[in-house]
Amino acid sequence: MVENKGKSQKEKGKSQVKIEVKELNIWFGKALALNSLNLEIQANEILGVIGPANSGKTSFLRQLNRLNELELSFKMSGEAFLDAKNINQLKPEVLRKRVGMIFALPQVLPMSIYDNVTYGPRMHGINNKQELARITEEALKASFLWDEVKDRLKEFATKLSGGQQQRLCISRTLAVRPEVILFDEPCSGLDPISTAKVEESMLRLKEQYTIVLVTNNTKQAARVADRTAFFLMGELIEIDKTHKIFTAPRDKKTEDYIQGKFG
């Protein structure tokens, strides 16, 4: 099934729309967090989402795997589609298996490295030890963590450094073989070297996955994103090829934000 998926993505070519959002409004209580958002995300691209605090970028991201609905005060209107299928018509478990997420702080579970990586697959019914070992190696290699931890997979994951923990989280998400990966400010707590490693793995991952990267660090978007969207006060101000956003933005507000005049 996994191979099929890869093939079909390639066959349809680079311009295939992976995610489409139409007239999406999100409220938390009475506060409007996202205001009539329309955008498309192509398969195998990295879409960078930048914007100051309260710009709605995280609400947008958490809508794509429907984590928003855990909030009691959450309300929405509009639609979001994954492969032309309305995500609200999918079971949340099915959707979240296809759309993985990396959180701002490395959220390793208090168990061994191996148990962290295999957590998803085990819960999804894979019990075969060899299969799990293979998945672990594959997932850890994809996040460039394998060489650092291959001899101590049984060690407690919380003993790893922050950067290693975040890459472990990436491996854990990869292990359930998603199609889309959402990064929610994944490097906000990391040092520059760890950040570079995470970015390197993102660039490698886009060959197989579609990536949405929310970041407070505009330079990070400039480094890794194919296209970049600028959000402000719950509205999408501008979305375009990254180099255009950073060199010749259409909107004055985008320019001001990128140049650090506010934010």
Partner: protein
């Protein structure tokens, strides 16, 4: 007055109050050990009472208390933990759940003799279990439910919210998430609460007074529908109802009761410390 002097006075006051807290405990323990320790023997712990309970041991009371305590936890732990999971993980914040929460807090404050009368009305009379171990254990279980629910909810709430998000984001169902990413990390707190509630159940007299406790039984209970003797009630009887019983027997009985309760509390503390060390985040 100098700042340092004021500080010294404040510290002394605080220290004194702390001492006042532990003094009664030490005093009670001291008196019980001094007067009761000599009465403890293998014979005392393992033989039936004789001569109108003036001689012999307290074996049936110990057995009865152990039966009651273990049967009550069989009822109260699953119900309490599951109710706590529902309230903490699933329930929406509406009028009903707020009422339930309020009810639980209030139940914890109801005096134990009220539970005893409730057990008499519901289990003994209405459900026709009679005065039996079953009725007593159920009454104790209900008395302990608020304690177990509150402790379990606190334990569940102390598991970081991010564990749930991580687990859900990997495509697990809510139940899988609770079962594998929340409950394992809440177990130390839940167990501690359960053991502490057991210790309370072991020591209470009022709830078992009308529901199970027997003045004297020549034989051990054969089934859960039999009456049983129990330590706290036995202690009450030999202290107030039976003349010419030696002080030492009374204190030795108290020693055993306090010993059981203390042992359980210590187990709870040690267990919590050990499990905490294992599950660190």
């Amino acid at each position: 007055m100098k700042t340092t002097t004021k500080q010294k006075i404040a510290f002394s006051m605080l220290f004194l109050c702390t001492i006042i807290v532990i003094l009664p405990v030490l005093f009670v323990l001291g008196v019980i050990i001094k007067n009761g320790a000599k009465g403890i023997s293998w014979n005392f712990l393992t033989t039936m009472p004789s001569d109108g309970m003036r001689q012999g041991g307290i074996y049936p009371a110990i057995v009865g208390t152990l039966y009651l305590v273990s049967l009550s936890i069989v009822f109260s732990l699953p119900v309490g933990v599951m109710a706590a999971i529902y309230l903490n993980e699933y329930a929406k914040d509406n009028l009903l759940t707020r009422l339930i929460r309020l009810a639980i807090v209030n139940l914890a404050g109801v005096s134990s003799v009220v539970y005893g009368l409730f057990g008499l009305a519901l289990f003994v009379t209405f459900m026709k279990f009679g005065v039996s171990i079953l009725s007593g254990a159920l009454t104790l279980a209900i008395m302990n439910l608020p304690v177990i629910i509150t402790a379990s909810r606190e334990a569940l709430a102390s598991v970081p919210y991010s564990f749930r998000e991580v687990s859900l984001s990997l495509g697990l169902s809510r139940w899988q998430t609770i079962r594998h990413s929340v409950l394992p990390f809440a177990i130390p707190g839940i167990l501690t609460g359960a053991i502490l509630s057991l210790a309370r159940a072991a020591g209470e007299t009022a709830p078992i007074l009308f529901t199970v406790a027997a003045f004297y039984l020549p034989n051990l209970p054969a089934s859960v529908f039999d009456q049983a003797m129990a330590l706290p009630y036995h202690l009450y009887i030999i202290s107030t109802q039976i003349p010419n019983i030696s002080i030492q027997t009374r204190y030795a009985t108290a020693f055993v009761l306090v010993g059981i309760v203390f042992t359980m509390n210590i187990i709870a503390v040690v267990l919590r410390a050990r499990l905490r060390k294992k599950k660190k985040w």
